[in-house]
């Protein structure tokens, strides 16, 4: 990654938009580049609709190298001390996270608000975290401030991260991968060390589209080689950020900075599954009083899915109404290519969060009828068993 600084008009130091390892590769493939999370990234290649539907039927390669890859370790090799320290900041039970397993977790503020959502994997001597691109610098600062000095944080900024997603992903990747075990042994939320065309890769079976798929961490200088290798497979096309957003919305997955922010706690966000059982019993994580209270008594509001009547998209920021009473807000929304209709995600009072509840969204001064819907909008296709 190239990081540059430049002086803005006021003479202050402003961070310039950075370039990711595959920048030239995206441009050569016809990617339309936009600024996102401080980086130039492809919003689309041939078109969001076509790319979205291609991923649901075949497989797509996403460049998610803007995300932060962090290795946490204990300076003295004391794993118990590492786990104990990390458990002070995340509501995760690391004692049940076996080697080779990955788990979704949340970085919590003191009051229980969500600072970020992230993946945690257990490596032999490390914990490997994948955090959001837009929040990674704040995350690193938060971890550094709150973790003891003997916890070492290594930001793997010389690693690229590719996501290969879709029903054809396993077949396409399988043609190029060798490793300690066959790729088919890797089930949802597991990871392992492999090689792709001779390039060392850490591969997890996970993603953010609701489809089967993999996230592949490789050295940045090999990213174009691996991307070319995968895109030469008949199942695989490069896919931009636009389709990534519509795919994750259909999958009911929240996007940090939109559906999650520091004012929202995990119970409100309907992410209580990320609070491990032992941590619920013991508490002792940031905001545990508020969060455990919400788990016991219900939260005042809840993240829900919304099916939108008609064709007019309801987007982030649209106010939600029950009759004439404003009850909440849409946090993500748009046209859902696989549903064939607009859908949205937002927050409503828990009493109005049951699927089937009628609410209205306000778009350009008009009311649009919506129905609270169970998520995901499109079924998940995760592979949870070997041989499946």
């Amino acid at each position: 990654m190239t990081e540059t600084e430049q002086l803005d008009e006021d003479g202050a130091i402003a961070a310039a938009t950075e370039v990711l390892p595959l920048d030239a590769w995206h441009r050569a493939k016809g990617g339309r580049m936009v600024e996102f999370a401080g980086y130039w990234m492809p919003i689309q290649y041939e078109g969001i609709m076509a790319e979205h539907l291609w991923v649901r039927e075949n497989a797509g390669l996403f460049d998610v190298s803007h995300m932060g890859q962090l290795l946490l370790s204990h300076a003295g090799g004391d794993k118990a001390a590492l786990h104990a320290a990390v458990e002070t900041l995340l509501p995760i039970d690391l004692s049940t996270l076996q080697l080779g397993m990955q788990r979704y977790s949340l970085l919590l503020a003191e009051d229980g608000g969500v600072l970020d959502d992230l993946m945690v994997s257990r490596w032999p001597d490390y914990l490997y975290l994948v955090v959001n691109g837009a929040t990674k610098w704040d995350d690193i600062a938060h971890l550094r401030e709150h973790l003891p000095d003997d916890i070492v944080i290594n930001h793997l900024d010389d690693q690229a991260l590719l996501a290969l997603q879709g029903p054809g992903a396993a077949a396409a990747l399988g043609r190029h991968v060798t490793g300690e075990w066959p790729l088919s042994a890797l089930v949802f939320m597991r990871f392992g060390a492999f090689q792709i065309g001779g390039v060392p890769a850490t591969i997890s079976r996970s993603g953010y589209t609701g489809e089967d798929g993999f996230e592949i961490s490789i050295p940045a200088d090999a990213a174009a080689t691996v991307a070319d290798l995968l895109c030469a497979e008949p199942e695989v096309k490069p896919i931009g950020l636009g389709a990534r957003d519509s795919l994750r919305l259909e999958a009911g997955l929240p996007l940090y900075g939109h559906d999650l922010d520091p004012a929202i706690d995990p119970v409100e966000a309907d992410l209580a599954f990320a609070i491990s059982k032992r941590r619920r019993e013991e508490g002792g994580f940031p905001g545990s009083a508020r969060i455990l209270g919400h788990l016991a008594d219900g939260a005042p509001r809840k993240r829900v899915g919304l099916l939108v009547d008609g064709k007019m998209p309801v987007r982030e920021g649209a106010k939600l109404f029950d009759g004439n009473t404003e009850i909440g807000v849409v946090t993500s929304g748009g046209f859902a290519p696989s549903v064939g209709a607009p859908i949205a995600m937002g927050y409503v009072p828990t009493g109005l969060s049951a699927p089937g509840t009628a609410v209205a969204a306000e778009v350009r001064g008009k009311r649009v009828a919506c129905t609270v819907a169970a998520m995901p909008f499109v079924p998940h296709n995760y592979v949870r068993k070997t041989g499946a």
Partner: protein, 123 residues
């Protein structure tokens, strides 16, 4: 029938006092897949540069501005059922609305096809 263009990528076909307005092929290409179009109501009074319609792609909603002052005589109802007409035939079947011109002199400030092409090439 002369056709004029705006820097906001609208086109306007003028036939006497009546004009037809849409967005250009360049604009639809930038927007991507169109999933919804909101056209102005018949009788709406539009003023040059003011909001006239909304076009929504998968990703975002964009305003379409009135190229000139005028009174809307008709919105393209075909776009309700088939908003993708804006992608497939932006400067034909994918027109947005018709209006009667209030001030034909405003057309003098718009671009012709050659000037618009040069404008897009410079973007």
């Amino acid at each position: 029938m002369p056709r004029y263009y705006t820097e906001e990528h609208e086109w306007i076909d003028v036939d006497g006092d009546v004009a037809t307005v849409g967005i250009t092929d360049f604009a639809q290409g930038q927007l991507g897949d169109i999933v919804f179009v909101e056209v102005p109501d018949t009788g709406a009074e539009l003023s040059q540069g003011g909001d006239a319609a909304v076009v929504e792609s998968v990703k975002a909603a964009s305003d379409v501005y009135a190229p000139v002052d005028g009174t809307v005589t008709e919105g393209n109802s075909a776009l309700e059922e088939d908003p993708a007409l804006v992608n497939s035939d932006p400067e034909g079947e994918g027109w947005f609305f018709r209006l009667t011109l209030s001030d034909k002199s405003q057309l003098d400030g718009l671009m012709d096809a050659a000037a618009y092409k040069a404008f897009c090439d410079a973007l």
